[in-house]
Every structure is written in C-alpha cells, then in structure tokens.
C-alpha cells in the first residue's frame, strides 16, 4: 500500500501544467551579452579591467566620443578651440541629468577635472596632467585652460571611458582615502543606460535611461551575463540564451560558429598586443644575456610569428611587425622592417654576440660561461599560447637556446616584474587604449619606476623621442617622430610583439540589429553607436524570452524533464518501500 503514495506523486508530476505563454513587450527588448571576466569594480578611479570600462561607458558620459574612424566627435558637449590651442570652450547639452534626477551642469565638469587633479588617483591623473584650470562662466559652459608647453593628443582625452564625467554631489563627500574604497554601486551617472543590478558572478544589468538628453536608446535593458567557461557561454549563444559575445571568442570556436546561419562572427582591429618580453632591466636578476640587443634580435629571427598566427589563432590576429598595432591608424608605421623567420641568421647573430657551443651540448654559452638558458613564463590562462610556447622552445633549441617553459599565473608574473625584475622572459598581453602617447610611454624610463613597464628597459634616445612627439603639435611632424620610434624599437627589440590581437565577436542576427563595427568590436567601451542603435528585429509579440519580464516559455525539454523527475521519484520511492519491507522481515 505504501507504494501508492509515490505513484500518485508521479502522476501528479506528469499532469502538472507546464505550458505557459510567453509575454510580449512593445519597447526595445533585453540584450543579453555574455562575458567571462566580470568588472572588478565600477569605481573609475580604481578599476583596471576593460569590462569595467565597457559598463562605465554606458552609465557615464564623456564630453566627446570616438566615431568609427576613431576620431573624436562632440557628444555631451561641443567645443571651440582657441587659435593658440590653450583655451578650450565647451558648450554642454541642455537637458542632461544625473540618474538620481539632479541636473548635470558645468559645475560637475569642473568638479571632474579638479577632482582628478587634486587626488592624483588612477589613470585619470595622467589625463589631466596637462590641464591648468577649469572655469564655469555659466551652467552650460566650461572654459578649460591648458598648460604650456602644449602636448599633442589632448582631444583624445575627451572621449576616454576611464575618465567619465562624475556627479559633484556624490563624489565631493569623499576624502582621498575613501575614494579607493568607494564601491560606487549603484552608479549615479548621466549615460544612456542606468545601473540596475549587479549580482557578482552572475549578471550585471543596466536599464535604458528614459530621460537621456540625446533620446533614450532603443533597448530596454542590457544584461551582462557572466559565464565561467567559454564552452557554456558559446552553447548559450547557440541556443539563443544570450544574444552576443562581444569579445574573446576563441579561434577554434569561431570556425564552429560560422556554420550557424543565425550567428555572425566578426573580428575587428584592437589595441591589444601579445608580447614576448625579456628582462631588460640592468638592475634586474634575469639572465644577463638578455641585455644584449643582438641576442634579442636573434630571438626575432628564430620565431615564426606568421606561422603561429595562422595555426594557433587561425589567422584571426595580425602578426606583429611594429609594436604599435594598425588600430592606431596614422600612428602605426607600416614600413617597419620585419625580421623574417630564419634560423641560420639567428644562429649567426648569436655567434657574433659571442655565444658558441664548441662541445655541441645543445646550449650556447659565452666566454664567461653565461649560458643561453632562460625560464619562459606563459600566462596559464592562455592555453593557445602554451601550445605556441612549445613550438618556440623547439625553434630555440635548434639555434642552441634552452627555453624552460613554465605556466605561471598572472599575479605571480606581476610580482616578479616591478620592482624586483626577477625573471628571464615572460609572455604577456598589453592593451593601453587609443592614446598613442600613453602606449609609447610604456617603454620609457619613467614607466620603469611607475610599474607600467613590461621589460624594465630604459633608453635615453627613446625617452627623448617620446618627449619630442608629446610636444609636437603638427600632425605630420609628430607622425614622423612616432614612426621613427617604431623603427628604433624594432632595431633594439626590447620587447618582441607576437601578434596584434583582434576583437573576435559572435552575435545572433535573428533577434537584434543595429550592430556597428569599429575598432574594438561591436560592443565595446568606445562603440556607443552600437549601444544606441541596437533594436529588436521583430517587434511586438515575441514567443521567446526576449521580453523584460520573461515567463517560463514552453520548451521542448519538458517531456524529458518530467520523465526524469518521475523516474527519480519512482526509484526513490521503490527503494524506500523495499528497505522498509526488508526491515520488517
């Protein structure tokens, strides 16, 4: 008799109503974006991740924005520049408001600049280093005076998502100490989207700003869903659970996705470069052989980066010649002389540098006994680069260099970098953003003492060139200097760029349209055009879960699930009943 109860339960489960109709919504829809790394914090003065900048670019405004050619165009303000370039007058949009209802005025702009100048915090300090003063003649006008001598590239700073306009009434209460700890959640910003909710490890959602001064975006909501592995994220894209993966689609899977007619894969130029970085610091404790440019040039000849770009990344990256990616437009020097893959020349260079192997041990050494044996650390988050490292190891062994490849986590690599410079070679990724000066600055001596240098390399010639380009306002002349710098770096090879990565994105074309392709991809910290322009492909009645308040839709899983549950319950019940019966005997 006791079996009856479980059986009845099974029946009930089988009969339970599961088919529910999906609800439709008339407005813009919810765009679900899949990401792996979530923002670390939404405090623009503390964050270092691109993901944070992407979110910040939606909830905050900047004075200008980048257009698809990466030139700065007016956004929250339009501006006039005085003839001598010193005085910039900004005219703010009229009806801009903060998300808590307070109107945005010139006082907020002035505050943003003063705040950064005063507190010298984060990357913002760098951006305002050339600002003398900011005045506000009236509520919608800002007059900014620059320091002389003037530096090039100031206009670029007007569109940086890392330096957004912050509300005075929120941030003025913070002391310098408190700024670092300030969570900034919920974010009070003036951007096209408003912060809604952030459940760490799961999702971050933004809602459309209905009162946006430029007119609300079409989308109702944007949800960044956080995944722990690519496989699950890609599967979610395939089933339509998410609508887009904006970046980091692995090479091999891009191929697999391309077969789906509803999915489009696109790769866009980016500022991100992966670099083979020797320890060039003269005070460091790495293998001293690395301080010799001839040895480093030998490295260049001994690594076939074209081949690796093809096989490891399936051609979805640009093999690097100059360390400046093509994404930098006119600043990228396409005429830098490449090092062809030639093991013979590499061996010759090593001989010339004094490293020989008369006893044929397989590893060269010089007269002082210094061996060409290096520890090579590869970031353990990049399985594809681990594969590449194995090939590099083989090439090197053919020219008498012993490379000990080790997988290392990023934090440990960073710890051995600045200030101890206690490593031989590591493989790293660099992304500095659209500011060419900043990207070039990373190789200066100043960078070495401020923890931004990757290799600890210091060279006064390069430093001089950098200062020159910073102060050259004439674009053609500046370009010439910058091109010269790239030739110089190619000659000295303090760091050997492997590839300029591209942003590989995959998105569904059956639900939303309006993606705009530009540097960094379809949905990035600079691609405001996509975010503003995206809209549902089929409006009105939707049978799937694209509506804001989605309800459990009929899925073809249901019969399976019901069966599974019924079986489990039945087995458990039978088990229970049998055990009871046995006990009774």
């Amino acid at each position: 008799m006791k079996i009856l109860y479980p059986l009845i339960l099974c029946l009930l489960v089988l009969l339970a109503p599961i088919n529910v109709q999906g609800q439709a919504s008339a407005n813009g829809g919810t765009l679900k974006v899949g990401i792996i790394t979530e923002p670390d914090t939404l405090n623009p003065y503390v964050t270092v991740t691109i993901q944070s900048f992407a979110v910040l670019s939606l909830v905050y405004d900047t004075l200008g924005k980048y257009d698809t050619d990466m030139k700065v165009v007016p956004w929250l303000a339009s501006w006039d520049i005085s003839a001598d370039g010193v005085t910039w007058t900004f005219h703010l949009a009229n009806n801009a408001m903060w998300s808590d209802g307070t109107p945005l005025t010139s006082a907020d702009v002035k505050f943003t600049y003063d705040f950064a100048i005063q507190n010298k915090i984060g990357t913002a300090a760098y951006y305002v280093s050339s600002v003398e003063s900011v005045e506000t003649p009236d509520n919608s006008t800002v007059v900014l005076t620059r320091k002389t001598p003037l530096t090039a590239g100031f206009e670029q700073t007007l569109a940086y998502p890392a330096f957004p306009l912050i509300p005075k009434h929120i941030w003025e209460k913070l002391s310098t100490d408190q700024i670092l700890k300030f969570e900034n959640v919920p974010v009070v910003g003036s951007g096209p989207f408003v912060f809604n909710e952030w459940k760490r490890g799961e999702y971050l959602s933004l809602k459309a700003n209905a009162n946006y001064w430029k007119g609300r975006p079409h989308l109702d909501e944007v949800v960044f869903r956080i995944f722990k592995s690519f496989d699950t994220m890609l599967a979610a894209l395939k089933t339509g659970e998410i609508d887009a993966i904006p970046t980091d689609v692995p090479a091999l899977t891009a191929g697999t996705l391309a077969g789906d007619p509803n999915i489009k894969v696109i790769s866009s130029p980016d500022y991100y470069t992966r670099i083979f970085t020797p320890n060039d610091n003269i005070n460091g404790t790495g293998n001293r052989a690395l301080l010799d440019a001839r040895v480093r040039r030998a490295f260049q000849y001994a690594m076939d980066r074209d081949f690796l770009a093809q096989t490891i990344h399936l051609g979805l990256v640009d093999p690097a010649v100059s360390f400046i990616p093509p994404a930098y437009g006119i600043w990228h020097n396409p005429n830098v002389k490449p090092y062809p893959f030639n093991l013979t020349i590499a061996a010759q260079l090593l001989e010339q540098a004094g490293y020989t192997d008369p006893k044929n041990t397989g590893v060269r050494s010089n007269k002082e006994g210094l061996r060409l044996e290096f520890n090579y650390w590869v970031n353990n988050r990049w399985p594809e680069e681990m594969r590449a490292a194995s090939q590099v190891q083989e090439w090197f062994s053919q020219v008498g260099i012993k490379l000990n490849v080790q997988a290392m986590d990023a934090d440990t690599i960073t710890a051995y970098n600045y200030p101890v410079w206690k490593y031989d070679i590591y493989f790293w990724g660099w992304r500095v953003g659209p500011d060419i000066s900043k990207r070039l600055w990373v190789l200066t001596t100043e960078a070495v003492t401020s923890e931004w240098s990757a290799s600890g390399w210091s060279n006064s010639t390069y430093d001089d060139l950098w200062n020159q380009q910073l102060n050259t306002l004439d674009q053609t002349k500046r370009q010439a200097i910058i091109w010269q710098m790239q030739d110089f770096i190619q000659q000295e090879s303090p760091e050997i760029p492997f590839y300029h990565m591209k942003t590989v994105a995959a998105y569904r074309i059956d639900k939303f349209a309006g993606y705009v392709s530009m540097t960094e991809g379809i949905l990035s910290e600079v691609n405001i055009w996509s975010w503003m322009g995206l809209h549902l492909v089929t409006p009105a009645v939707v049978t799937e879960t694209t509506a804001t308040s989605a309800v459990a839709a009929p899925s073809d899983n249901t019969p399976w699930i019901v069966a599974a549950v019924a079986i489990i319950v039945a087995i458990a019940a039978l088990g229970y009943a049998t055990v009871r019966r046995r006990k009774a005997e």
């Binding site: 890609l234 091999l252 096989t311 399985p383 590449a388 290392m408």
Partner: protein, 280 residues
C-alpha cells in the same frame, strides 16, 4: 610462492587486469621512444582538429598534432606520476600504520588519530589547494598527490600489524628480548607486505586518476604531455564545442582502462592474499 601464483592464474579478474597493465606498460615504453608523428610544437593549419582518418586513426588535435601519437607518448608520464605518487602514499601509509599498530599508548593513539583525520579530510580539495600554492610542475604534482593519499594504506597496515603483533612467534620474540626495531622489520613487515602490495596497486590506480583530474583542472604542468593535460587542452581550447570527440575519447578511455587494470589486479591480489576472501 607457487601456491599464490597458481591461485592468481585461476582468477579471471587478476588475469584481465594484468593483461591490461602489461599492454599499457608496453604502450608507455614504446610511446616514450617512438611515435608515428611528433608530439610537441605546433602542426600545420590544414591538420587542425581533423576527424579520424587512415593517416591519423585518432584524428588530430587543436594545433594539428596526431592524437594517437600523443596518447602513446602520454602513457609514460601518466603511469609514472601515478607510480611515484602511489609509492609515496604507500610508504608514508605503511610507516604510519605499522608504527601506530605496533606501539600502543600515547604514540599509537596520536598516530591513529592522525590517520583518522587524514582519512576524513577530503583529498581532492587539499590536492587542488596545494598544487595551486606550490606551482605547476611534475614533481609538485607527484608530491602533492602522494602526501594526501596515504591514510587508507595506513589503516590497512595498522589493522594487520595489530593482528601480527599478537601472534605467538612475535610474542615469543618479544619475551626473548628482541628489540622493537628487530621485530618490526623481521616479523611485522613481512606479514604486512602482501596486503600492502595489494593495496599499493589500488593506490597507484587512484593516483593516476588524481593526476588526470588536476591536470585537467589546469593545475598540472601543461608543458608536459599526459592524458590529463591532453584533456585539459581539449576542454580549454573548445574541442568539446567543436564536437571533436576523437580528441576527448581516447585519453579518457586510456585513463579508465589503466585504472581498471590496477583495480582488477589490486582486488585480485587482495582476494589471494587476504585469506578470508578466498573462494570456498
């Protein structure tokens, strides 16, 4: 010794296990020195993730290298790590178990409690943590697996020691004034050894499984080739998503077969050497 071997021969389980193990030992030996294709570096673009064919019976992997060759080459390391880690576990376990069984009183109790604690502490999380803290290389992996998995052996060693300790000839030896060391080495150890041997075989199997697991989780040494690191690359480079079953199935099947082999032999040995389990 003729007696036990004959019993072994009648034991199908043992025979099957032995055949499997010998097979893999040969594979490991051969694979270490000669494989049909290279197993390091990077292959060619056209050969990436190719399904099985005549020239590549197990297809190719994410960089175009032959999967079969890697399975052959990886056998050696997978087995070696298991063997070394297992050896460490059994040695520690035997030591602790023997001593805790032989010595009563304070010493014995402390050792027993110590064993119980390590019996209960879940192994894999501890292995994961230590592997992560120590860093990715083979010796760390061996060490970590070895020092976590000894408690089972200790328990067996202890219970057997307790029995032997009370046997007449041992008691006689003690009354004759033999030193503890002498008794342990000359009397207890030989009595415990057969069971330890059976247990060691099982422990090696578990160690191989542990190595595969932490290599898969990315805590092993990705610059070395083992079945576990193969599966790590298969997972992390998206072979699953691409449906490259030929890359995923062979290493896993090998792991399962090898562990099965060790388990069969271990159980068979246990049956033979444990007098209570022999078929009536």
């Amino acid at each position: 010794m003729a007696g036990p071997w004959r019993v072994f021969r009648d034991n199908t389980l043992g025979k099957v296990g032995l055949v499997i193990l010998v097979g893999f030992a040969i594979m490991a030996l051969v694979g270490n020195f000669a494989t049909p294709y290279r197993t390091t570096g990077v292959g060619s673009l056209e050969e990436i993730l190719q399904p099985p064919s005549l020239s590549h019976p197990f297809g190719t992997d994410d960089v175009g290298l032959d999967v079969l060759s890697q399975v052959l080459k990886g056998a050696g390391l997978s087995l070696l790590i298991g063997l070394f880690a297992g050896a460490i576990s059994v040695t520690i376990g035997a030591l602790v178990g023997l001593l805790s069984g032989y010595y009563g009183g304070m010493r014995g109790t402390i050792l027993v409690r110590f064993t119980d604690v390590f019996l209960i502490i879940p192994g894999l999380p501890l292995i994961i943590i230590m592997a992560a803290l120590l860093g990715a290389n083979i010796w760390n992996v061996i060490f970590v697996i070895g020092i976590v998995g000894w408690a089972g052996t200790a328990r067996i060693a202890r219970s057997q020691t307790l029995v032997i300790r009370e046997l007449p000839y041992v008691l006689r030896a003690r009354s004759l004034g033999a030193s503890d060391r002498h008794i342990i080495v000359r009397h207890v150890l030989p009595g415990v050894l057969p069971l330890l041997f059976a247990n060691a075989v099982l422990v090696i199997g578990t160690a191989i499984l542990s190595e595969a697991t932490i290599s898969f989780l990315g805590l092993g040494d990705p610059t070395q080739l083992s079945w576990g690191t193969m599966l790590n690359f298969a997972f992390s480079r998206g072979a699953l998503f691409a449906g490259a079953y030929w890359y995923v199935i062979p290493p896993g099947v090998c792991i399962a077969l090898v562990v099965m082999g060790f388990t069969c032999v271990g159980y068979a040995l246990d049956e033979i050497l444990n007098p209570r389990l022999r078929k009536r």
